[in-house]
Every structure is written in structure tokens, then in C-alpha cells.
Symmetry: D2
Subunit: 151 residues, 4 copies
């Protein structure tokens, strides 16, 4: 089974955060990973776009029940209808989580991952004890793949 | 977005049901559909095997939290840790549901689909009012694709 | 811990079904049970009213995220925001389920209960193999309490 | 409807945190609130004990599917079988959240509450921007009731 990596983060990112997310997505595509996001805009869309353009399987796990709400770079779309409870599903689906920026929703994903013992790599995000801060997108992906036993 | 079809059914199927599920999976693979199952054995494994061998994206939505529990034909594996509540997620992820045999778990999926207005095609399964019984695997897939606007 | 009984059923019941649900609620109140419903109208409201008037703890497990949507006889209101996935939570919360009438949503609750090994008592509802049909409200409650070890 | 207050926090608290949680529970009981916890030990058990001894309705929303796992001060026990995804249900059920100590699971509850716009009162817990730190148990309960429109 290919490594499953979740990219979580800001729905209203800075330009630098969006560029980071897209670079993370591209590198994960090159690595043959399955890329999981929440299917929305901002970091989610940038990561999905980068990943899809580099051949990754891109999975969107949406909060609502309307599958057409996913960003257009998502190939497999799961409409959960669970609202932010779906944050926990994103985390559970991943071998490792990469967080880029983000607000309280992202913080909940970081916390749920760390609580479950799933590694979290951070880029300009919540400085919670346990998050492994990366120097940039390539470093984040290298760490993620190494943690998942694929680096 | 490719059509998403869920195949649900017996974990302990008859030989005929397993053969039907595999044939359904193969036909969906040929059609380029995304195939969603519960990731377990029986009808789920047969459908996943047929679909994977014909090039479909195969998604497993597992009841447990251990991703390695999925059958080996599942490319994308989501471990929900929600037990049978994940039945509702399978249904919500699908444009149309095909049910093959099955016990009470399958009945819950049929009921949740019909309650949400999602069409259910049946093969040797619960004769619930609203289930559209098919003459065989090819007929089931043809009906499913037509209902999803792809036939 | 008091016996927890879920009453599920039609949101648009017949008069006879609504009267049955209210009588079931009253009898459960007399027995000191915790009564769980989906918090909506029809059978849910009738059962909650009967139970509340006879002193039962009445719990509503709502599909939406707005707690004020519960019927007024619900003392404890849990807004799940999970839509019909909450049907599974209602079933899991109960020692035994009583079904009165109902459409596909009720059928999903019956199926999830039977799948989990939770007994289902039926009054004018889906004639699914495994549902124990009762002669009337008093018989339904007597059977439910007996099955829960309290009769 | 009575105010619903969730008390979340450490499963392995310090003595001071356990005493705080119990005092919070007692004050909420006096106020006639519905008290919601995760049903486990530590802060959850201390809060439930204090609340139950002062006449509160005490609700446990458990991660597992075994209702007998709840602490003995829980009158109404909902076994969700959803693991830590149930953290989101605790938050959604509450008008306001009081957090006492805690690790990553508590952090996820704080984050989900703030994300949903639900106020969080803190006692010796994660210093996340948005958490309103209280001077002690009585202050925490006074603030919680005021925020819920009951103070």
C-alpha cells in the first residue's frame, strides 16, 4: 500500500503558506504517495493541485454531504456530512500529517494526530509540543516519508 | 469526477454471490469508476479484486482503526475507527450503491442509501421496497452507470 | 445504571402509531427508564412527551447541530451534526430498541441494532426477520424491560 | 432547557486538578446544569462525582462501545464506539466547555470548541489563544453560566 499523507492547514493561507502546500503536494506526487486533504480551499486546494499535477492519488474528505463541493484536483471525494468531526477521519486515514499554517480546525487535527501517536510535521503552524517543525516543503516531505518508513 | 460506486454485501457470501461481486467489480473497472467497499472479506474482497484487476481506483472504508486490515486489492484505505457507523460513510461516498447478498449490516446500508435518495441496485439481496433488482452483474453495472448519468 | 431504551420510528406517523409511541413513553417513565429518541417530531415527540410526563429522563440525539431543534420534552439534548449517521448513535446508546412504524431511517436503526446484537421490539413497523413484534405498547415495554434484565 | 456544560481534561490529573474538577462539578450541580463528560477517569470522574452529589444530570459520552465502562457517577451513558472522534460530540453537546489540565485529547476538544464558536473556560490547561483562563472553580462556573446566559 502506498504511503498515505494528510496535508492540513489554513483555508485562508498566506501566499507563502499556499506555495509551501503546493510544493508539498508536488513532492508527495513524485514520491507516489496518496494525498489526503479536507477537500476545501486554501492549503487544501494548493496541496491537491500540486499533488494531482504530479500524478498522486488525491483524496478529499469533505465536511458536508455535497460531493461537488470538493476542489477540482480531488480525484476521490468522500462527503462525510459530519462537519468538523471529519477532521478526525482525515487524521486516521494518514500515516503521517503535514500541517501548513491554519486556525483552530488545524489545531484540532494536530491534537488528534498527536493523541493517536501519528507524527505531525509542521510548516509555519501551531507550535505545539510534539509537532516536528520542518525547514521547508522538501524537508517536510522527506521527514514524512522517513517517518512512514519510505524515505 | 469519475462515478463513485459502492459495492456492499455479504462478508460470508455464497459462491454465486462472490462471483457476482467480482464481475461487478470488473465491469466497474472497465467503466473507469471509483469503487468503494467496506474493505473486508467476502463480497467486499471479491468486488475489490475484480475492480483492481481492471484498473479501477479501489477505496476501502474500514470499521476499525488499523489500516492493514484492508483486503489487498484496496489502493486507498481509510480506517475510520467508527465500527458499523462507517456504513453510512460508504453510502454517502457513493453516487449509487450495488448490494450483493448480505445480512443486517448490508440492510443498514440499503436503508441509509434509500433514506438519502441514493439509488440501490440489488443482486440476490434484501427485497426492500425501493431496491432495483438486477438480472445479473452486467445489468447491475449498466443500471448503476445510467443512474449516475454515465451510462 | 437505569435501563436505556431507544424509541425510534415514523416522523409522520399514523394517529395509532403516535398514540402507541406516547403510551410506550409513559410506561417507560413509570419504569424509571432513560428514554432516548432522535429528538424530532412524530413518534419521537410522542414518545418523549409520554416519557417526560411520567418522570423519565428523556435524551434527544439530534441529526443537526442546533440544539434548539429538539422537541420540548427532551431534557438532555445532544446535537451531533452527523445527519443520519446519528441513527447509529441512538442504537448504541440503548439496551433495547422499540420501533413504531417508520420509513427507511427507522429501517436503518433496526438493521444497525440487530447487527450489533441489540434486541428490537416492533409495533406496526418493518417486518424484518429478528424484530420481535409486540401486541401493543404495554407488551412492548414489558418485553423490552425483560430483555434488559429489568422486567 | 437546562444549560449543558462539558467538563474536559486530564485522565491522569494532579491532585489540584482533580479537586478543581470536583468543585466545578459541585457548583454546576447547584446551578442545575446538565454536566457532560467523556465518562472516564481523572478529571472526568471527579467532575461527574461532584456534579452527581449535588443533583446534576450527569451524561457520559464514551469513546468505546461498552456502556459499563463509564464511571459510576454517570446517570446517562452514551457509548459511541467512535474512539476520540467522540471528543467532537462532547463539544457539540455543550453550551460552554470547561477544561481542567489535560493532554492532546483535551487540546482537540478545546480546538473543536473554539472552531465552532463555543466558549472555553480554562483551569491550569493549554494556554491557547481564545481560552478564557479562570481564577478557580467558582470563577470558572460563574463565567460559564454567564456565557450561557444563565449567570
Amino acid at each position: 500500500m502506498a504511503v498515505h499523507v494528510a496535508i492540513v492547514g489554513a483555508s485562508a493561507p498566506t501566499e507563502a503558506q499556499a506555495a509551501s502546500a503546493e510544493a508539498v503536494g508536488r513532492a508527495l506526487g513524485t514520491a507516489g504517495a496518496v494525498v489526503i486533504t479536507g477537500g476545501g480551499g486554501g492549503v487544501m486546494a494548493a496541496a491537491a493541485r500540486g499533488a494531482a499535477e504530479n500524478g498522486a492519488r488525491v483524496v478529499a474528505i469533505l465536511p458536508g454531504s455535497d460531493r461537488t463541493a470538493a476542489n477540482p484536483w480531488s480525484e476521490i471525494v468522500l462527503a462525510t456530512g459530519m462537519g468538523e468531526l471529519r477532521n478526525g477521519l482525515i487524521v486516521r486515514a494518514a500515516d503521517v500529517v503535514i500541517a501548513v499554517g491554519g486556525a483552530y480546525g488545524t489545531l484540532s487535527e494536530i491534537a488528534l494526530a498527536l493523541s493517536a501517536g501519528t507524527a505531525v510535521i509542521g510548516l509555519d503552524t501551531w507550535a505545539i509540543d510534539g509537532v516536528q517543525m520542518a525547514a521547508g516543503p522538501d524537508d517536510a516531505v522527506a521527514r514524512a516519508l522517513a517517518l512512514a518508513g519510505e524515505g
